[in-house]
Symmetry: D2
């Protein structure tokens, strides 16, 4: 989202942050109520971050659906522009044909985003074949696929996607999937876009084959939304917030950990020093992020209580996200779609 | 569930625990894979426990649906017997007419249990009125009501239930609702039955009027299943498990809090002494249960991350619970239902 | 829809037909693609037509949903104006409180229109009670009720509606229901509005009590959409079209009833004389409309093939009708609803 | 269903009819409440009947679901035996791997049978690959595919089925689809099985490629249920019944076509002579079946009223059919499925 990007669009993105470490460029933009975070991971930065080299966009729609009742135009504008930018970055032209793939399980609400989006987009490939006279110039060939999940088909998801890709030969792929969040702030609140591909059924920790440019031979844009989170993450993130809250209370003069009703003006970004951490949380306080998560995982797992959960309002969340993503796809893919 | 109870039924309940404090009698029974906990709260014990006087049954079906694929007969047997015991305790006869009320919101999966059960039971009142010749002796008059939620009707739920109760004059009420869990072990894993009534939309902390014998003038049996839990509860319960896990590790000779892969044979019921608690968790370790929850609540609430969540598999959980509860109701209410 | 009506609104209704027989006034208007038929039945005309005295509007949306993809603004405008006209005719003021009742069975798609509309409208009564400061001037008190069907509740639908009406005391009622069509042209293609009330579960031919001003004591506006039709009606209507088609063919010079491929320019409104009718259809041709339907009914009923059917696309039809009717209700009921 | 067939099974099929014309063998069997009609079309009979050579089974379940509440064991037994007979006829062994394909559109209830069945069957192929130790001997490899409809995917259905078949190489295919009925008696009342393949989206009259042994190179068993019917068929069939009804009335001494209330004991199988037909129905009475349907089609089509309809109870019908067919498939495919 450099100057060129901004000049190409009508959106007034404001660059709010920019930072570069070896092999990783990060920048943050804002458009109305929506924040966009862009990370470019180069070969060199890849190992350091344990992330594939490529471009990652994170569109933050925290509280967006609560405060923007009935019309999601701003968020759609941001998604459309981000998709168009990715098309450009991947050399995808206006007439390149697209296969849109919705991963996940329709029968499990928090896993149903991919199929829901695909069921809601406008497909055109058959019209080009059967009624070419009825297709206007401003449309491209779009097909769709819902491969379902291996537990329901008996077939590796990659095999289905690969077989159909080889058969109908689209110029590029868009894949939508629900993800596991690694952070409670993300659940049903961010839309992630990347050109690095996606693993079907990720999080289950098995060897399922990746859907990506490397495995399919054509550009792949993956759109993911974290819709579930596990108890380890909830606990670990809450403990972090707790330390910062307690630190604030002590700074404010409290000497003991007593219940207060002071709930305002806490700066949750302020770092807490190690001594305080140990004071508040004992041994637990001095562990690294990874160690803390690991020890919580070890304590929870034998009990069977490391639940994977989703917000109570998941039905409405998925409905809203589906609407926004499918509308944005239609408008980004077809110049004349209204 | 005394001897008389057992003699009246075919179920071989085994009494596993029994304990009496002033004004509160507790006993625990077991039938095949299902545990039943009974608590009788008397006037005297009521204030101490902050619970209305009355009888509470908790049917524990942890892992039941995972290990009993396809047939839930044992669990249904337990529910049927528990319901019949309650009928007896409340002097409800074989011919007493019943109104079954399903509270909650059909559009929010974890809140849809009440309406789902009511949509699945066998109603007969109209047959008694219109086709009395087709009704066999072994059936009673059953009607049903789904009052929906105030946000969708504009009407206090109690007003709807009360108006219909006054109009059709059933002899007793059965009310089904989804609840908020106070314990991660409970979510979608226990079925609670009580004669003390229920609050529609409980947990939201408002003044909505209770549905109970006191407010309606007829016996009320409330069936509740905890289907959601908040992040405070998840964190607080996980911290408790963590302390016990760490205690076990230290007992086993470890001197530092390092990650190990030893995940077996941990006794999560063993108490941990205060010194250890402080060592592991610092200030947090020495707080009482209530103080710990309160401080977590205070840290989470300003951030907006005190999510109310439900297990990822909520669609399937609700479907199974609905099936078991509606089948049990049909068989407990009608002697000849098959 | 006299001049006053037209002046009150922005809609340019064009009066296309007007006709008056003793005790019955009929007029037809058109607005863009939508036709509105208004019938006023007076006491004197009531017996002749076998219709209750009152006002009947029929909004014809044949093919509307096919040709108006994505935006149903015109149809909504017509419905809103018709509702506002009825409010005026029934002396319903801007602040009169309303209970919206959705009759029918959610589990049977062609019978689910009433509940679907009610699930989609904006209710406000509880906000007037709980958050009066948040309610703007341009809103009225609206509550809603889905009484479900007697086969599922065990209770006469009228009893539920009457009990809730007596309890919450709305100033008027709006009732939505799916109907049986008496004409193949009507199925999922017209919206009927009347101030004469409605029978729940009509068509089943039993004594279920009417929901109307007479039985409830407050104005009742009934909105009905024919969503099903029986085989007798389909056959009878098709035979009528067949006679007219054959008449046209014979006029065009054909002397025998042979298959032709001439399918254009047939005037289906032209009357056919009795001789021709007998020639084409023998005895059947000379029966009156009622006799013809009766004899078809007698032939079909013993076989069990008098199916009640609905168009294949019923899922989409109901979805579209629900959207249009609920949006129109919101805007007609609340001046400031957007 | 010869002796060998009967000896192989526990079902006591009674042969009720048997008839052989050149190149076509027909036989009818009965098992409890269920009738099975078998037609073997040979090369020679193929042109005469305008049907592909092959074996056709029609399982008649008229009124079955109405009179067999809750348990459909008999019907399932018949389907299981018919499937096993077809496996034998097609040389499909106990270990042959199967791909089950559900054609149709999940979003249109009467067209959703195929996807519904596939969503309800037990798939095993991935278990053979991932957990071979957990698969018992009495199971075969089963995968499943829901290709959806061309209007939603943009891809010819055949292309999807062919690509996946070529990729995973099953030994045979089972295809389930909803069909258009050519007879009002068939709608949601018969299950048709054949080894001659199926056309996706049949009835729409386009060139969509057949799914069959010829096009895929492996045995294909097609299971079809007529779920919709058009107004031409309803009218034509009703007119036939009407003629027979009138004939019966005249035989009973009536001289004019007047309405009577005599509705019993009509023999709808008795042939009516031509003179009577003309007397009752004029020109229409003397047309052949094909001419009659054609002329009705010509009269209805310009009006747009040749509706394609489905019974009002389609939701429940599809649910029941789905249950019966998916259970039967599981038991026919896996010896040890319970």
């Amino acid at each position: 989202m450099n100057k060129e990007y901004r000049s190409r669009t009508d959106l007034a993105y404001e660059e709010v942050e920019s930072l570069e470490i070896d092999g990783v460029k990060q920048s943050e933009y804002i458009h109305k109520d929506v924040k966009i975070h862009k990370t470019v991971v180069e070969e060199m930065g890849s190992k350091q971050l344990n992330k594939k080299p490529g471009i990652y966009y994170t569109v933050d729609c925290s509280d967006y659906f609560l405060t923007n009742y009935n019309s999601y135009d701003d968020l759609e504008e941001v998604l459309i522009e981000t998709l168009k930018t990715m098309f450009k970055e991947l050399n995808i032209g206006e007439k390149s044909s697209c296969l849109v793939v919705g991963l996940g399980n329709e029968k499990i609400t928090p896993d149903s985003l991919g199929p829901a989006v695909v069921n809601n987009i406008f497909v055109t490939s058959h019209l080009f074949a059967l009624q070419p006279e009825n297709i206007q110039k401003g449309f491209r060939k779009v097909s769709s696929l819902i491969p379902r999940v291996m537990g329901d088909t008996g077939i590796e998801t990659f095999e289905i996607v690969d077989a159909i890709t080889k058969r109908i030969k689209p110029d590029f792929l868009i894949v939508i999937d629900a993800l596991a969040a690694r952070n409670i702030q993300r659940v049903n609140q961010t839309i992630q876009l990347t050109n690095t591909g996606i693993h079907p059924g990720s999080g289950v920790g098995n060897s399922r084959k990746e859907i990506s440019t490397e495995t399919l031979g054509i550009p792949v844009i993956a759109i993911g939304v974290p819709t579930v989170v596990d108890a380890v993450t909830i606990t670990s993130d809450t403990i972090d917030l707790l330390v910062k809250y307690l630190n604030h209370e002590f700074d404010a003069g409290k000497k003991e950990l007593l219940v207060t009703s002071n709930m305002k003006d806490i700066d949750y970004t302020k770092e807490v020093d190690m001594e305080r951490k140990q004071q508040f949380l004992g041994h637990l306080g001095v562990l690294s992020e990874d160690e803390k998560r690991e020890v919580i995982y070890e304590a929870l797992t034998p009990t069977g209580y490391n639940m994977i959960v989703t917000p109570k309002e998941v039905d409405e969340n998925i409905e809203n996200l589906c609407l926004v993503i499918s509308n944005s796809l239609d408008k980004a893919l077809h110049r004349d779609f209204r």
